[in-house]
């Protein structure tokens, strides 16, 4: 990547689009890494749950917590209300635990990590070992770019392989580690908050996750602390037939601030792989959390074979007054996406924002959206959703805005735009709105349009080929959301927009 100049500052995010379309194959992260893996036996039962707990050296209370979830899960049924069509998942035909053999003895430092693993992350563009200074360009017109550090926790199949910048974060009092480490080292925090936003009983997939989650990230930002760098987790599914069930818990204590980025990839396989994550965010008084996801799990090939089944429960609880959360997601991957990052606006004057780009191409199916649950007085929420469908894909926005009786003087604004490329795909908008008090207001705007031929011709008459033209127009359509992303993610995201639309025209 070339150095950023003031051009990039002004232009925001749609800079790399064009180079990318031509430079990249259709799914950039589709290779797999040959690393010796250690698996638990296929299927899930109480023994597997115990084994996972044991592998993570968990205390008894944690094992019990998992088992409780497991016992509940076996009584539950898979939800069927989403606009998704997929063959029955055989939950006993999956591996629930896989880790690179070299991780059997936990490495003491990154130097002990299998170099192949590190090479994998390097291929993904995540320099784990190095100080990762990424181009962060903000505001200033002519000023040279300020370097920005990003602390990374990387999860490979079931286990976390290393967290960077730990010491520097510790100096600020920030805890950033794998959740398995947090369970061992910070049990009081985990006990207090785990399951407090997404309870074990929440839904079929969350309950399964509660039983078998293997690893994930943990963040605690103490009162009054602005986290000195962006925190980032990369998830990669490598092993075949392996479900990934990571669990993320973020706690922003009073008056703190943190920006957290999540990226995901998986190799190209012709079988479907299951991913069922849970993310819980607790935000206390006057604290703010930004959570950004660029999700490019393997979406399946152009015939709809393979790909990740993604069933994710993400929820932020603005538990106290003036707490604030902002979800930004770019969903380009997965064969099936079932995902509704939500905001519980419990504290008075708390705020929730949701910015989303969901792209579905070929045979992908996405059913995604958000829930804004207004419980506190004077709460605000804003939803900006951009759905793009191409090929034979189906893209559904499903959103809930709920104003409870006590949530007086609250506001929601929802803008939901769909763009169709070609005429075999579909876009659906399913907004649920409940207002149970008289002083609150909910505004909903929705548009559906086709990619405009005049725009494409205009671009092509200036020399861009059809795919470049589509990528440019689509990036323009998504701009409002791309701009909500941290700069380094925005670049990646707009490249992804281009890549995931390859083959969608002509």
């Amino acid at each position: 990547m070339t150095e950023p100049t003031d051009l990039d500052v002004r232009e925001g995010v749609d800079r790399e689009t064009v180079e990318t379309v031509q430079n990249m194959g259709s799914y950039k992260y589709g290779w797999d890494t040959e690393i010796e893996m250690e698996y638990a036996p296929k299927g899930v039962n109480e023994d597997i749950v115990r084994l996972i707990s044991e592998k993570n050296n968990e205390p008894e209370w944690m094992t019990e917590w998992r088992l409780e979830a497991y016992r509940r899960w076996v009584t539950m049924n898979e939800p069927k209300w989403a606009m998704l069509n997929y063959p029955e998942i055989d939950f006993q035909d999956q591996y629930y635990y896989a880790r690179p053999k070299s991780m059997e003895e936990k490495p003491k430092s990154l130097d002990e990590v299998d170099p192949k693993l590190l090479a994998t992350y390097e291929k993904l563009g995540i320099p784990l070992k190095e100080q990762m200074i990424l181009a962060g360009v903000e505001g200033a017109d002519e000023a040279p770019a300020e370097g920005r550090k990003v602390a990374v926790d990387a999860v490979f199949d079931s286990v976390s392989v290393g967290t960077t910048f730990k010491d520097e974060l510790a100096k600020a009092g920030v805890i950033f580690c794998s959740i398995s480490e947090a369970i061992r080292e910070h049990p009081e925090l985990v006990k207090k908050y785990l399951g407090s936003v997404v309870p074990q009983s929440d839904n079929f997939f969350a309950t399964l996750n509660s039983a078998v989650f293997s690893d994930g990230s943990f963040v605690y930002v103490p009162p009054g602390v602005t986290c000195p760098m962006e925190l980032s987790t990369y998830f990669r599914i490598n092993a075949e037939n392996t479900g990934q069930f990571e669990r993320t818990l973020i706690i922003a204590d009073k008056g703190s601030y943190v920006s957290y980025l999540e990226g995901c990839t998986a190799p190209q396989r012709d079988t479907n792989q299951l991913h069922a994550a849970v993310v819980e965010i607790v935000i206390l008084e006057d604290a703010e959390v930004k959570y950004s996801t660029v999700q490019n799990w393997f979406p399946g090939d152009e015939n709809g074979k393979g790909g990740i089944y993604n069933f994710v429960t993400k929820r932020a609880d603005c538990r106290e007054a003036r707490a604030k959360v902002m979800w930004t997601q770019v969903e380009t991957g997965s064969a099936i996406t079932w995902k509704y990052p939500s905001c519980i606006l419990r504290g008075d004057e708390s705020q929730g924002e949701f910015y989303s780009i969901a792209i579905a191409n070929n045979w992908q199916q996405a059913d995604t959206g958000t829930k804004m649950v207004h419980l506190g007085k004077n709460t605000r929420s804003r939803i900006v959703s951009k759905g793009i469908s191409a090929g034979q894909a189906q893209n559904t926005y499903r959103g809930l805005v709920s104003m409870h009786p006590r949530a007086s003087d609250s506001r929601n604004y929802t803008q939901c735009d769909s763009l169709l490329i070609g005429d075999k795909c579909g876009a659906h908008t399913v907004p649920y709105i409940e207002v149970k008090n008289t002083s609150s207001r909910v505004e909903h705007e929705a548009t559906t349009s086709k990619v405009d031929d005049d725009q494409l011709f205009y671009c092509r008459s200036r020399g861009m080929d059809e795919e470049e033209a589509v990528a440019l127009v689509v990036n323009g359509f998504c701009r409002e959301v791309l701009q909500a992303l941290p700069m380094e993610f925005a670049m990646e995201a707009q490249s992804l927009v281009a890549i995931s639309l390859e083959g969608s025209v002509g």
């Binding site: 002004r10 232009e11 092509r460 200036r462 020399g463 080929d465 470049e468 701009r479 409002e480």
Partner: protein, 251 residues
């Protein structure tokens, strides 16, 4: 440079013939003007030359420096050096004007096997050219043509032309809706680009523009054909007498 031979074009969707045997040749370095009543097919000609969908060539052809234009995709024509300044420039929401320009410039360079411009080089170039056209930084930042005034849109087309350095420039009523000052800016921009290796086909209704951009040849177009060609004095005649007599005389 540009050679159009007996071009017949109909609409793809309906049975409507728009160009009915149009022939025209613009040699390298020359400026030709096309004047003609509304609906005579001037914009259709410019679209067909640049490769827009929706038209069907039923007879005849067009070449750019000997190469068959009609065989190429729009982007190939652009890379080959053809440029159309649109009568109605298209708005592209969310795409920065500068990004659009840079994407276009680099796409063409790539297609021609040339090195792409770095951000720095590009920036320097675009700033200099924008300044000449009195296009400020603000306008470069804004989404392509969105919320631009009529005059801004037209100046923006000329900026694109200046950046892309095409060999064959077609301008479709670039002067319509321009005030006197904007017209001067646009003509200065065009005149600065004039050279022995570059040709222009200027579609206009007004003699006014041709006072600034001196044409070598003026063609009168009506009902899908060129009915008369001559020197700059033909434009003066149109200005004074309208098309009536000219068309009657041509039959």
């Amino acid at each position: 440079m540009l050679k159009i031979d007996n071009l017949h074009v109909k609409l793809e969707e309906e049975d409507k013939q728009i160009l009915k045997g149009l022939s025209l040749e613009v040699p390298a370095g020359e400026v030709h003007a096309i004047m003609g009543p509304n609906g005579s097919g001037k914009s259709t000609l410019s679209y067909v030359l640049s490769g827009r969908d929706g038209y069907e060539v039923t007879e005849g052809g067009a070449t750019l420096e000997g190469e068959d234009l009609l065989d190429m995709d729009p982007e190939e024509r652009a890379a080959a050096g053809l440029f159309l300044a649109f009568q109605y420039p298209v708005e592209i929401p969310g795409v920065g004007n500068m990004t659009f320009l840079r994407t276009a410039v680099n796409a063409q360079r790539k297609a021609r096997g040339e090195e792409e411009l770095s951000s720095g080089e590009f920036l320097k170039l675009v700033r200099a050219k924008a300044k000449d056209l009195q296009i400020d930084a603000e306008m470069l930042k804004r989404p392509v043509n969105v919320g631009f005034s009529g005059g801004e849109k037209k100046r923006n087309e000329i900026l694109q032309m200046a950046m892309l350095e095409p060999r064959m420039c077609i301008m479709d009523e670039t002067d319509s809706g321009l005030d006197v000052d904007a017209m001067r800016l646009v003509s200065d921009g065009v005149n600065a680009l004039r050279d022995a290796g570059r040709s222009f086909l200027v579609i206009t209704h007004y003699q006014r523009l041709l006072n600034h951009i001196k044409p070598d040849v003026v063609h009168i177009m009506s009902n899908g054909r060129i009915v008369k060609s001559g020197g700059p004095e033909l434009a003066l005649q149109v200005e004074e007498e309208g098309y009536g007599d000219l068309l009657a005389e041509a039959g």
